[in-house]
Subunit: 350 residues, 4 copies
């Protein structure tokens, strides 16, 4: 394989899951590789990782489960919350509403969308949705809203504030809705100076949330945090039924054990945010407008089409959208694996 050289030739800022895993995680996988352990998450590495995460969340009770990827995690958790006649409220740009190939529907549930603002849905919108639903005399013929899905950070890199989450929780309580937060990129929220939502806040306000590994330094893996065990009976069976139970569960335990040792998870986030801030600062100086006010590791730049094309030849970015016939929005991602040197090269190109 000559691909190593080939892979190093270009600049990659198109996503936050391009490389393998953080060196400390790799080191743990190497060290534990030959240890024989029982399967399906019953090994002691998994138990140790669970404890560390519960501690980080300031949960004395509660449970943690490790799954392989984000789509299967969203699906498995959401299916657990909902009966067949119930649906999940989401921003129309929510990952479950767009890029999970209909996995929520394939398991029988409707995604009830609310128009987003930079990827977020606001408490007032959710309240209005519920008021309108209950005012509809025909709502027995409609899917019953029973869960709110948020992502933190959102697919646009924006953040919910603690006050917003508290307000949404209050609405959930008023309307018997559960609250679930997709933290695929949670490290990049937690490490962000603008963020005031910590893990214990999520544990207190959510009925479930997940701490993303795949996009935050792990080779793969997502940690579902469940503050109240009794809401998830037979959850291992559900995980199995959704094809999301890794045989060699140890490989998940080892990775999350490393991520929650010596603050690695936060360090990973911090690295990405610092480089993203550096890029944002340079963009501001260059007068390149940002299409979204994201404070996290995703940066959305608005460019004329020819300029976008030129840059696309020199560096791998994500083509996000064409807001009109003359402009394109490109997405720049930093991650734990972004090197300072590459940032300099990127800025030189921009």
């Amino acid at each position: 394989m000559q691909s190593k050289e080939c892979g190093e030739k270009r600049l990659y800022f198109n996503s936050d899951y391009l490389a393998g895993c953080h060196e400390r995680i790799l080191q743990s996988l190497i060290e534990t590789n030959l240890i024989k352990a029982p399967g399906y998450g019953t090994d002691e590495f998994t138990l140790a990782a669970k404890k560390k995460i519960l501690n980080a969340c300031e949960l004395e009770e509660g449970d943690v489960y490790f799954l392989v990827g984000g789509t299967q995690t969203n699906d498995t958790v959401i299916s657990t919350f909902l009966r067949s006649y119930e649906g999940v409220i989401s921003a129309d740009t929510g990952h479950i509403a767009t890029h999970e190939a209909g996995i929520i529907e394939v398991h029988g549930h409707k995604v009830l969308t609310i128009p987003h603002k930079e990827g977020k849905i606001y408490p007032a919108q959710i309240r209005e949705y519920m008021v309108h639903f209950h005012a509809d005399g025909n709502n027995a013929h409609m899917v019953q809203p029973r869960l709110v899905y948020l992502s933190q950070p959102t697919e646009f890199g924006t953040l919910y504030s603690l006050q917003e989450l508290k307000d949404i929780r209050e609405i959930c309580n008023a309307y018997s809705l559960s609250l679930y937060v997709d933290g695929a990129r949670l490290a990049y929220a937690l490490a962000c100076p603008e963020n005031d939502v910590r893990l214990p806040d999520l544990a207190k306000l959510c009925d479930a949330f997940y701490i993303g590994g795949t996009k935050c330094g792990a080779l793969f893996g997502e940690a579902v945090v469940i503050p109240e065990k009794r809401n998830f009976p037979f959850f291992p069976t559900t995980i199995k039924q959704h094809g999301a139970l890794l045989a060699k569960g140890k490989a998940l335990g080892v990775q999350f054990d490393a991520l929650f040792t010596d603050n690695l998870y936060l360090q990973i986030g911090k690295h990405a945010i610092e480089l993203a801030d550096k890029i944002r600062s340079a963009l501001r100086k260059k007068g390149i407008p940002l299409a979204v006010s994201s404070p996290t590791n995703q940066i959305f730049i608005l460019l004329k089409k020819d300029e976008a094309e030129r840059i696309g030849k020199a560096v791998e970015l994500t083509h996000w959208d064409d807001p009109d016939d003359e402009h394109s929005i490109l997405r720049i991602c930093t991650s734990w694996s972004t090197e300072e040197e590459d940032v300099e090269k990127l800025l030189a190109i921009l």
Copy 2:
């Protein structure tokens, strides 16, 4: 973590997926770790691995997809073959019929079971099933059989012969059935002296089959081989929809590239079979009866209950079944990671 010591204390023969991955796979993962690659299986490692597998199967056309685990692979492939009114024929002991938590049903399909004989269903049984189905005047109100699911080796370690597979293929042709083989432990069939079914035979006789990685030396991963591409339109979307699309697909490509370099896959099988044969030979000498005539890496021993209990305290085996009130069947598994020294210890205990 003190678990390393702890993990090494005991003898483990209870399954073939207790350890991490083969050292050559680990080495490949380490070497490629920091290479940035596009996601979801579009990287060049994956392309290279696909080519090697197509070569090994003597397929010029055809396609290969890598998924994470066996349950999700069975589900994703079977869902692709079937319309909602169609079902899959399986031995009543088939993995899909028993230990996949109903994932086939959750995706809408009925598993149509035929009584097994040591894990196998025979051509005559399948033919009889189809004859009976077509004779039933009420079969428009029944699930239509459309696919035959076999496992090679079976869940009991037994093997289909080439002639049996050819006969089943013929019946499939006669009744418009597709044929799919679950090769979760395929390495242990391919390396078995009794086996006469090679990869090119499977590629010729099946509409799809998978080459198991998780139980055969990989950290995780299964390779679905599709001789005719046109039968699997939009398969990446289907994989995504079943939560089975790994974001960092490179990690799958790298592992299968290693498995299909320098015959590693066969070597892994060979190692396990040699040690299994050694155990079988010793059992014969000791007069411990085998409950199943498995020639592969799974050995099923019939013991009196108190004897089974005594052994269970000294070594980790799988309790398989209690054929009557006085006996138990225990399963011994060897694998790529079984050490000769441990086999000696096991035999000493037995």
Copy 3:
């Protein structure tokens, strides 16, 4: 249409739902035809019918819902009991396991079959199934049994005794199983001298059961009796979601109001049983063996193949099965619409 004459030419004993509806039901439909009523079962005819059925079941609380057909009723009720990881225990000859085209699976659930004896499963079998399930160390990877499905009478016309139902209820209590009885032909059980299970017994012992209309004198319709309302939250939404909510619900209410006025439901059953007994008595005299010891409106006769063929030309019967190469089992059904004169003709042919 000249079909009336045509339809009258032959003798029909092949099923119990060949004709339209009982004259008293037809009369009610005619009388109420032009009355405008709100839809979906909120009309007063439906309310009146519900009350009459609750009275007949000696239920003070509880609820009754009317659906159109048996397959959709089984599916809708069973889906309400089960979470996706849960399955329903049924005889392998249960209607849901065979002739409902996989509707239970299409809604995500596995039918866990137990071998029948003349259509029945016995308390000891269910207990053994549960004991075995709980002894299986791998049962977290299996569909969890959560409901027992019985039919009364069974698909073979046999009956559960009150004691058997009580024993099954006790097992259900011990293993947290719910109990659901499919009463598609319930009128023919209730009217049977051998039967000791009355409607109030079913209401006391079951978590749900349905009183069949389609096969017992209605044009269509099944009445689901729910002793405990709280087990069926949002049931109208579930009914709608299963395509089982009749827009003109009044048409169901009117029919069941008639069926439960002046004991019509029992009279319908009685008429069919009396004629079936007459046939059975004649068969005994003629020495034609019965293949099943059914005391209800279904009679299964064992004939030599040529004899079966001869009879099949003279009268419409159901070809049930071929127990061996030389014999056939034919099914004779009586119903509310069977005429004494036709029975005489049938007996003359036999």
Copy 4:
């Protein structure tokens, strides 16, 4: 039951399925009631009705199936068109997107909504949707659009013109989409002077459509017209699997036979449209504004809230929506069962 008087007390204009069935249909049901016929749509009444409908559609080949209700019909047909990774395009006000309790999702499919204009989606919108979908580099992770769902008339009583349907068909051809039309109220379109889409046009332009019975004079029943049989293999099994196969199929055949004898279906539509036009004309004179430009049997009037409340006490109308805090939109429906005398009373109240 004293409900007859009770039912006659009030004026009902709240829906078009309040009464039973048209007298000629009732007469047919009465006359054929005691005729014994094979079940599940294999009787000769059903065959005769199929032929009449194929004639009315000018289809020489093709097939027709009769189902009980609209929701189950939409679900069964749409499920037949779609593989699990495929979705159906619909107006966001389409019945399948709103008031069918998520039955499309429960069968695994996403409803891909486009914003409506008075209940319609326009060819340009569909084209733009498809252009945008194909331009999205990430669309392999999205549900693949494969079917367009329209209703004629729409849920707002508006109509697609023949030219619009032709344009949509052309777009469908360009993007490999199928076209399905929900004709729950088709009689009221066909009888409408503004309408230029006839049954043979639908048969020519659609891959399937249904002719509504429930809302157009039948007691229940919808006729699915399939111009190309080969697109619907095993359709009876699919119907059964969706709980939509009526045991006494004769009752459907008899009704549609009557509807398509001596132009009854058109007469039913004509009666409702004439009365609706009379109401519209009176509203215009009274200066009561219409909220939607519907030319069919549904009329949407915009009223001040107190006025809406006053009228709601005197006559049963459907509360449709509150466009602002001071106004309400009420829906008036006429149907085959609307009496001229009641229209006079309604106009007096308005």
